[in-house]
């Protein structure tokens, strides 16, 4: 058969030399390689103390933002839930009562807002879908491991950003 490329090499089985048969030089070479690795810099990241460096656009745990007056931005329009390919987001909408203007920005707000972190694929489509700039994926937090499945369903108590940190971010 005509070779397609002329790069094939003829393999020939030759007798091993005495040094190869004695096996000891090869062992010494191998020991040298492992000793080199012994003194190499370690690849491990000691997780709880150190964390891996993340990119600026890294998508982590969700946050429901407040506006400059501390009122929740979310109006429970449901676009994030529609956009979500994993169907991880559910919410129940409610009407804002008189006297609650400092709590919710629009007349309609989310009474419950839940993200199931086991379903979520952290694609960020909810972030893109949101017309009110209410939901974002943070670049510095992630959903930690837990023992029960229920604990992965994050409600408003864990999603809405705390009042004090409004100014900083």
């Amino acid at each position: 058969m005509e070779p397609l490329s002329n790069r094939s090499k003829k393999v020939q089985k030759r007798e091993m030399t005495f040094a190869e048969r004695a096996y000891l030089p090869a062992i010494a070479q191998g020991l040298g390689i492992t000793l080199k690795h012994f003194f190499k810099k370690k690849a491990t990241i000691n997780y709880p103390e150190q964390t891996r460096e993340r990119s600026d656009i890294w998508r982590g745990l969700h946050v429901l933002k407040r506006d400059e007056n501390g009122a929740e931005r979310c109006t429970a329009c449901g676009l994030c839930a529609v956009a979500c390919p994993a169907e991880a987001i559910t919410m129940i909408a409610g009407e804002r009562k008189a006297g609650e203007e400092h709590l919710y920005r629009e007349e309609k707000y989310a009474v419950t807002y839940e993200v199931n972190m086991l379903r979520c694929i952290f694609c960020g489509l909810c972030e893109e879908a949101c017309p009110k700039a209410a939901i974002f994926l943070q670049d510095d937090k992630l959903a930690p491991a837990r023992y029960e499945r229920d604990e992965f369903i994050y409600g408003k108590d864990r999603l809405v950003e705390p009042l004090k940190t409004t100014e900083t971010k």
Binding site: I27, H37, F38, K40, K41, K42, T44
Partner: protein, 351 residues
Amino acid sequence: MESVDLIYRGIFILVIFGITLLIATYSTYFERKIAAFIQDRVGPNRAGPFGLLQPLADAGKLFFKEEFIPAKANKALFIIGPGIAMLVAGMSSAVIPFGDMLLVGGREIWLQAIEVNIGVLYVFGIVSLGVYGLMIGGWASNNKFSLLGAIRAASQNISYELAMGLSLIAVIMMTGSLSLREIAEQQQGFNWNIWYQPLGFILFLVCAFAETNRTPFDLPESEAELIGGYHTEYGSMKLGMYLFAEYINIFVVSAVMSTLYFGAYNFPFMENLRSAISDPVLANNVVTIVGVAVMFAKIFAFIFFFMWVRWTLPRFRYDQLMKLGWQILIPLAILNVVLTGGAILLKDYLF
């Protein structure tokens, strides 16, 4: 023997036993650390500073596990097996000279538990008994894989004991004594046996790996093909005993190798140090203590080498193991004996 001597002997034996156990315990830690370092990891570092309490945590875990004995196993032998392995391993360090003599209050204190004129034979007799622990445990488990592991252990130990004994004969021919202390004393200063017996040392080293069931000759417990070999059915502290016995054996073999080939407690410029100190008693004690430190440094270097090799070489195939033992090591050992004999005769003839 005076009663003071007896008390001293008792204390010394307890101390040596304690040191043996301590070294075996921390060998598990260093095994994991060295494995990790060679594989670019950091190893156990959670229990205590640098993970130094890890062996204690492991032992605690093993003690609290269920004492499981398989229903069809021979119960008595199943329990005796690890006991024999541990007992035999603990006995073998009795004749090793860890140091020269200390002078305390006009009394000579020899840093060796028992001085017998057949020290080498004692060590080899005891070490070859160790295979009974593996054999009995593997057979009593009533499990195919355990039995296979036990058979492998027995045949491997028997095969390699031959080459080991033959490579040793050359050393004994040179020193003319079976006493480990005398062999150590003849290697005064830097006059170590390794310079005269390089081939014998390599043979002995290879056989030592096989005798202690370490990689590349860890076929009795090859986890990939025999699940765990002779200790497949073992759990809890009985498994711990087997692992412990293995590490004690490594320690003892390292000590024997340093004594036979690397001059035991002797170190270069020993006499210069001795003559530098004017007080003879103090000089003797300083040299002895440095010698003990040197001895342990040699032992630790060998233990490190055992671990280093474990994470470098893959396991031999069983037929390769047998071929190496019978067709290569034994003829080479005999050649070494003949060469040594010839050299001794030539030396007598010339000088």
